[in-house]
Symmetry: C2
Subunit: 281 residues, 2 copies
């Protein structure tokens, strides 16, 4: 992968005051502190089996994406960007004991795969946030990077999400907790969005915009695709829906952003955003 | 893995009339037949790049599960059970070109991983059903095998799902198609459930029952766990919820059964069921 970050942006935000100060990643669970051991089942890590502060205490950036292979490629890219190739050992999958997710660490950057869809990323986020909490990490920025379907924009355009919306274009994440429906906020960090957007301006031929990202539970019928095993709507209905999405400010569609925004927002991962490169439509 | 099927059950249903007759796997999408090429993106297969009838035309059983490693282990187990070890080449991942899912074929049995959660299995099912349709498969039985959390049953008990229910204990799958909510049926094939149950009786120490399976979108808060990064309910509320689930006939909880039942039911995979071995609770 070629370097896309301009040299001026390669310092790890040491020149910024905004994120200075100990803003710890926190859990919102009164039961957790009284547990003798916390096993992060799907990451194959635990508080008794691993020294989490030693392994992860220096993490400042977490980048997540659906595909394990792409997250490994991303970790290798970051290793090169941070000039850590010689200082570090080979990049190894920290979660090699499980095939649910893959995790790579290079310097202060952690890269993790999350599979596809809200439930899959949700399990990973619960365990990642507990990991960062147990490791006493502070001032952590999390960014989701992934492919998506663009709406009314040129293929290849990068969309930086300001707000994640659901299939009804509402900025909310509705979640069933026991049998109650709880609605959570899906706003993402404005300052980080602008900072990422400014970075993009310094790179030639890197079309980028800030817009709403729509998150669906279904790839085929839920995103108006006409090529699934099931399709009960017409081409006209599909185009009408996508047009209404565009008018509501939606610029791309994917399958994880609402729960990503909701959970990270609740747990003190203050500087977060979603950076998505549309591939289709 | 040790053999669990009694010798009398190892014939591939050649003695049964119920499934005799060409019941083709069908798609419900009027646009599909007019497409010049159908690319099954997440399986790395396509109608122009692969001879799907030659590769998959003899498939009679499809077994799906979350973990890629477990599905490979399952395929090797089936290969041994069907005594195909010498006749076949090594089992290879048919979807090796992508890291989204893994797929293994041995004789008439296809084993595929689907990741975690409704959206992830839903993408796989759309593409699997199109694959079986393009390959002109008929009389296909599909079984989901996975771990789950048991409710009020001994750990290790196998639950054969009769009906998949949602977090409100309702036998339905609510899906957003464009911005309409569509409710789909989640009943599973009764005859297959009974047949699987009868098989279990012939195996010593194989505790098995038929019951409802609850499908949630969330592993931690959605299933009443007290050890996630977020937990907003009390232990009492959790136990009350699980008690009400038990009273409604639920015997285990997982994250894929409603959409599995709904999509397979719509596409002519008549003989289907979910076989789940609870690990936790």
């Amino acid at each position: 992968m070629a370097s896309v970050l301009p040299a001026s942006k390669r310092s790890v935000r040491s020149d910024r005051n905004t994120y200075v100060g100990k803003r710890f990643v926190h859990v919102k669970n009164p039961y957790l502190d009284s547990m003798d051991e916390d096993i992060l089942y799907h990451l194959d890590l635990g508080t008794k089996t691993h020294n989490l502060p030693a392994m992860f205490g220096d993490v400042k950036f977490v980048c997540v994406g659906g595909s394990p292979n792409r997250m490994k490629a991303f970790a290798l890219f970051v290793q090169k960007e941070l000039r850590l190739e010689e200082a570090e050992e080979d990049i190894k999958d920290i979660c090699a004991g499980t095939d649910r997710y893959c995790m790579y660490k290079t310097g202060p950057v952690l890269a993790i795969s999350h599979g596809m869809g809200i439930p899959s990323i949700s399990i990973m986020l619960h365990e990642l946030i507990k990991l960062l909490h147990h490791a006493r990490c502070c001032d952590v920025t999390i960014i989701r990077i992934g492919t998506s379907g663009g709406i009314g924009i040129a293929p290849g355009t990068v969309v930086i999400t300001d707000i994640a919306v659901d299939s009804f274009f509402k900025p909310r994440f509705e979640q069933v907790i026991l049998d109650n429906i709880v609605t959570r906020n899906t706003e993402l960090d404005k300052e980080l969005s602008e900072e990422l957007f400014n970075c993009s301006k310094e790179i030639p031929n890197f079309p980028t915009l800030i817009g709403h990202t729509m998150c669906t539970y279904d790839f085929y019928e839920g995103q108006g695709r006409l090529d699934g095993a099931l399709c009960s709507f017409s081409r006209e209905k599909k185009l009408d829906y996508l047009k209404r999405a565009y008018e509501a400010g939606v610029r791309n569609i994917e399958m994880e952003s609402t729960v990503f925004a909701a959970i990270c927002g609740l747990c003190g991962l203050k500087a977060k955003s979603t950076l998505i490169k549309p591939q289709t439509f």
